[in-house]
């Protein structure tokens, strides 16, 4: 069974979810979290920003507030309680974020391309992301790897990854460990523990170093023990393709 790149990204993200609590977004994050819950992490607690905690949807939601997220949840809280009581003190272990731009220190822009006062492209904005990036135990980013997205410096810092480099999160008082995995259509990047710079730790099967370098706006480094992403198993693919979409 051949997997598409989208499916490979989703399965790679799902495998990284081993249990505990996961703050989920829409799209691939929701697919990945629900796939993990059906396969290797049945006790994974899914939290959606709109208020449901412990959702067990049968249909993959189109928005973060679809009805079944609430009716299948352990309980539902208001937005103020979600951010103040649950997210801010660091009760959630993993969260997913998307990015229009991401830089070598995994800082994320979802606000504008171009100057803030005269944007070339107005993007949706921050939503829950700044505080998710600050306070969740760790963050996983799912994004297409292109020169447009992987930039030397983001046009707007919507959510902090590692700021200006080593020690910056600590100086800012951010409690979570920041982005620990960036999953792309070419492979996986992880922060170098010493420099905080995103380095390619895995390439998807058939992807070359040259392709990854060409798709990255900074001088991309590769891990010494560069891995090849394992292909999805038949069970993973069948389960993913069987997830009904809303």
């Amino acid at each position: 069974m051949d997997a598409t790149l989208d499916e490979l990204m989703t399965v790679t993200a799902a495998r990284a979810l081993t249990g505990g609590t996961c703050f989920v977004g829409i799209g691939k994050p929701s697919l990945a979290a629900n796939l993990a819950r059906r396969l290797h992490a049945p006790d994974l607690v899914l939290i959606y920003e709109s208020g449901p905690i412990g959702s067990k949807p049968t249909v993959i939601p189109m928005s973060i507030g679809d009805g079944e997220l609430a009716t299948s949840a352990d309980f539902v809280v208001g937005v103020a309680e979600m951010f103040n009581y649950w997210l801010q003190p660091g009760r959630f272990q993993v969260a997913f974020l998307g990015a229009a731009q991401i830089d070598r220190f995994a800082n994320i822009n979802t606000t504008v391309v171009g100057p803030y006062q005269a944007p070339i492209t107005r993007l949706p904005g921050a939503g829950g992301a700044p505080e998710i990036a600050a306070s969740c135990g760790e963050v996983m980013v799912i994004v297409q790897q292109t020169r447009r997205a992987f930039v030397e410096r983001v046009d707007f810092r919507t959510s902090v990854g590692f700021g200006d480099g080593p020690g910056h999160r600590e100086r800012l008082g951010l409690r979570g460990r920041g982005p620990q995995r960036v999953i792309t259509d070419l492979g996986v990047l992880q922060p170098d523990p010493a420099t905080c710079e995103l380095v390619m730790t895995a390439l998807h099967p058939g992807v070359t170093r040259e392709q990854a370098t060409a798709a990255t706006g900074w001088e991309l480094r590769f891990a010494d023990d560069l891995q090849t992403t394992p292909l999805p198993t038949a069970l993973e693919l069948t389960t993913l393709r069987g997830l009904p979409l809303g």
Partner: protein
């Protein structure tokens, strides 16, 4: 005390040109019909406030009713852009739109401060981001007990709040349940509030996790069945995902949007 009136009458009585108008509903219970009533009323120069502007604010912005928008995330969830919002920000069409931009955590805390009768709220947020540099309602405060520097966001007290709820009783007490978002906070923060409901019933049978807003904190209640579409009302109808996709098409060009707007104004 809330009066049970028509939606048009509620807008006429309680909304003025130039008002700060908050519209809440976090994916669920979005008062979309109230937005159309605002367009028909001709009220203008509004400062809109909504954590997720959604279709309702996209419509008001495209119709030229808004001079400013306070918001957190301005996209069409699962579909793509809010095209009228983007056209206003990128090209000033049909008029420029001033932005007061927050994270969801920041904006909901502005409501919490407003509802609590406080001038600001304290949070850990925005730290290290570029948002505070562009927004005078985000600042810093030093904890008097520990000396720690924290984020302060200014209270928000809208002139008018609009929400949609499942039902009200004949005295104008309102009940909502499911994903309850920031509806309680925005109503208690606002000077006046208008609630559209699916139906009026004799008795509000309590539901687990429901929110009750007593008539004496509300200004008006209007019965508008389906008033949240294409959003949804738990227990009444589902989210109309195709409706959101259709709005993506309708709003894409100024021409297709204007044709839609002509239909609203003449209805």
């Amino acid at each position: 005390m809330a009066e049970l009136v028509s939606l048009a009458e509620a807008v006429h009585r309680h909304v003025r040109d130039g008002d700060t108008v908050a519209i809440e509903g976090f994916t669920h219970l979005i008062p979309t019909a109230a937005g159309a009533a605002l367009i028909r009323s001709g009220r203008t120069d509004l400062h809109l406030v909504k954590m997720t502007p959604d279709v309702v604010c996209d419509q008001l912005i495209g119709a030229g009713c808004a001079r400013a928008l306070t918001f957190g995330w301005g996209g069409n969830a699962g579909v793509g852009s809010l095209h009228r919002f983007r056209d206003a920000v990128e090209n000033g069409w049909p008029r420029p739109l001033a932005l007061d931009e927050h994270s969801h955590a920041g904006l909901v805390n502005r409501y919490v401060a407003g509802a609590s009768g406080l001038p600001f709220a304290v949070m850990r947020g925005y730290v290290g981001t570029d948002l505070p540099a562009h927004n005078p309602t985000i600042s810093k405060v030093t904890c008097p007990f520990t000396g720690e520097e924290l984020t302060a966001v200014a209270a928000l007290n809208p002139d008018v709040a609009f929400i949609h709820a499942q039902r009200a009783d004949r005295a104008g007490n309102v009940q909502l349940w499911g994903i309850v978002g920031a509806q309680k906070e925005v109503v208690l923060a606002a000077r006046r509030s208008i609630v559209t409901v699916e139906e009026v019933v004799d008795t509000l049978d309590r539901r687990p996790g429901d929110v009750i807003l007593p008539s004496w904190v509300l200004s008006a209640v209007a019965v508008v069945p389906g008033g949240a579409r294409p959003s949804y009302a738990a227990g009444y109808y589902e989210r109309d995902n195709d409706g959101y996709r259709a709005w993506g098409e309708t709003s894409k060009t100024r021409e297709s949007f204007t044709a839609w707007l002509d239909g609203v104004r003449s209805s």
